[in-house]
Point group: C2
Chain length 453, copies 2
């Protein structure tokens, strides 16, 4: 097929990957183990069993290169997978670049983002473990929405602890979760000890993601029929997202392409893992593909953080993970890409970045929205603010190619559409988006709270 | 291909239709001509030229069966067309029906609805006529969004007169239009004589679609570089939407199916036309396919209206159209499917319904949302409230098949997703949706205002 003939490169349903790709099998240096937060010793499967099913714990530590995707999960993936790979003809033309730009569009999932790839898998493995109910936390709402649908699909109850300020400011997100049958609670609640403790100190607290995590974990740990589910960071979540990059490789082959640059936005790391990790074996075998993680300048975990053991939550309940972190006490400003405000980063991404296999860059919000509007006006799709970070980097790469007179193949992950984030565009169009310079002093303060290991 | 093997039936890009299907060539009885509202005589192309380009006027009256889709329009269609046809395996299972249910998903368009099929065509024909700017009105915002993107694609300016109450209640819709570069004004404005006249009488008016139409038409008629654009009702709009049904026929052939029932929601008629009209030749040739238009019980144009000449707008500026109408003075209650609140119906649909080639049924809001939630929980996609009317009818047909023990092939048009209409779901889930009995007295009053022809 001529690479210029098509706009959408579509795979048939029988090309939905049959395996998830586990990068742990190929990493030059293995992951440091998670540590039990109380003992400081490596966490055992038994430490995790109160809140995760064995199927996912096994994936978390597996060293097998390929892990079979259960037939039941692939059946559900068929509702939107394989997702299309687009050639951005009209964006290229607007940039007058010699580069070829492709984007993988995960916004075709029913919930509008890539999050469903892992939510379906997690709900399934909990279902077969006999679990009846899942809890999770959500900030912006993308993950909660995905898990709500996934639970409905497998007949599980779902309780989402939604940060109170988001619960009140984003009633639409809550309504979608409720439409899928989930129970959505404004966190902190009076249902958990950790929630009650916070409410006692500060009855009017707007809540934080850290508190919501504590409540969701406490809820899950306290009931035998209930587990906890996380939408990013962990190895098994990144694993599930590798269907994205595997499909991209097949789709590029169909038009006789191989990427020079692969780009994804990076918060907790699941979306970037999805598109980038399947290229790691090629990179280890000597290809020159560059893998670029794009993070907000307001929360520059990879580019300004340190590689150290830290808690996954602010309260220090979770196992310690070796990762790039700004410190679990770091509070990023309220940027519009809520999904990229995590203080840490996936241990997998962190290790590979530390070992020089990945690149990272930080971009400012205003520049991100500038690229997002250009993309919407040329390609039509209104991108999620998170995904627009990847667009910014892709545009910059395409402009660099133009400057150098080089035609490169640039691929990025458009992880979701922005129809549920339109207030962010309203803020941008009306000049209400400010970029805050990152404070090295605040970072230094936050890093002082890193646990001593 | 086995009809049960697939979830999505996908056509390659080169199967995007090359022609629009013009049902006027096949109608047993021709359309009655539109009448000049001042003279009562048949409107001439000259009557329409101040606000429409000749290319669209020709389509409005053409008797050719196939009208070529310009290459430039097909290029843009490639951004989302051909759209997928889904087999609703999971919905079928939930209903325990022997019927096979398929849905054509137009929500994959960048603006999330079928409206873009005509917006792109209209912007193109205005562009080649030398027009620099289009005006339109919008209520719920779907059409305005589509025209905003279409104008951006062809480098036209776009001004959308948005009913003031929607402008204030749906700021997100406005932000999308502005992201695409359109100017969005709260109607009535002080920019037009008709707007100023209304404001003088009632400075605090919430506005109506009728006033917005008057403003958009006045604006277009007063400037040589500006035309007016309408998102439904007219023949050329219905024509453009026939890409939907033509693709459906090819997709069903791929799985060796032919429908027993074809269903679309029906407001002005463009979406129903899109899926239903391409089946008219088959029906005339003797196949038994049933074509069902579904309208809200609150605005039952086909099922309770009369077939008569009426104005397209409330103020009586537009040509008189022979159509099913509730009277141009009819004000339907504020239901959540804003796109289905039009007092009249497309003359094409009206004539074919009058001649017995189409069926119609009216459904209540609560039943519509009940079906919408079942659909979301099984198929994943959150449907637009308008599209959910078609789901309601499809579910009822599938349940009837179960009752009768008959396996029928049921196809409906899922014309858009509901990510921009979530407040409607919130109302439904919280018991705030009321069904109002249709008032025959109000209808009788409204019909008294029909123009005498």
């Amino acid at each position: 097929m001529s690479r210029d003939a098509l706009t959408k490169i579509i795979l048939p349903e029988d090309k939905i990957p049959k395996y998830w790709y586990n990068v742990q099998a190929d990493m030059p240096n293995p992951l440091d183990p998670p540590l039990n937060p109380r003992t400081g010793e490596p966490a055992t499967p038994d430490d995790l069993l109160p809140i995760f099913p064995m199927g996912l714990i096994e994936q978390e530590v597996s060293q097998e290169r390929y892990i079979e995707i259960p037939q039941e999960v692939r059946e559900i993936y068929r509702l939107w997978r394989p997702s299309p790979l687009y050639r951005a003809h009209r964006l290229e033309k607007a940039l007058d670049t010699p580069c070829r730009i492709y984007y993988k569009y995960e916004g075709v999932s029913p919930v509008g983002s890539h999050k469903l790839n892992s939510a379906i898998a997690q709900a399934f493995f909990n279902k077969i473990a006999g679990i009846k109910r899942l809890t999770t936390e959500t900030g912006a709402g993308q993950w909660g929405t995905a898990l709500a649908l996934a639970c409905r699909v497998f007949g599980l109850d779902c309780t989402v602890y939604m940060v109170k300020v988001s619960y009140e400011q984003k009633p639409y997100r809550r309504s979608i979760m409720e439409t899928y049958g989930a129970t959505c609670l404004a966190s902190p609640t009076d249902r958990t000890a950790s929630g009650r403790a916070v409410l006692e100190r500060d009855p009017d607290t707007p809540g934080t993601l850290a508190i919501a995590i504590s409540e969701a974990v406490e809820d899950a740990a306290s009931r035998d029929d209930t587990n906890y589910s996380l939408g990013s960071v962990l190895n098994h979540v990144c694993l599930h997202q590798t269907v994205i990059g595997q499909e991209v490789k097949l789709q590029l082959e169909m038009v006789d392409e191989y990427p020079d640059v692969v780009i994804g936005c990076c918060g907790g790391g699941s979306n970037f893992s999805g598109i980038a990790l399947p290229f790691i074996p090629d990179k280890l075998a000597g290809t020159n593909v560059r893998l670029i993680a794009v993070e907000p300048a307001a929360c520059p975990t990879l580019t300004k953080g340190v590689f150290a053991y830290d808690y996954g939550d602010q309260a220090g309940f979770t196992p310690l993970l070796k990762m790039y972190t700004l410190g679990h006490d770091f509070t990023p400003p309220g940027i519009h890409a809520g999904g990229l405000r995590y203080h840490g980063d996936s241990p997998l991404i962190s290790r590979l970045y530390h070992d020089g296999l990945l690149e990272a860059r930080a971009v400012f919000q205003k520049n991100v929205f500038e690229a997002a509007v250009l993309f919407a006006q040329t390609e039509g799709i209104l991108p999620a603010p998170e995904s627009a970070h990847a667009i910014r980097a892709a545009v910059d790469e395409a402009l660099a190619g133009k400057e150098e007179g080089v035609s490169r193949c640039i691929v990025f992950n458009l992880s979701g559409h922005g129809h549920l984030d339109i207030s962010a565009y309203d803020s941008y169009l009306n000049g209400r988006i400010e970029d805050v310079e990152f404070s090295d002093e605040a970072l230094a303060e936050s890093l002082k709270t890193l646990p001593q290991v």
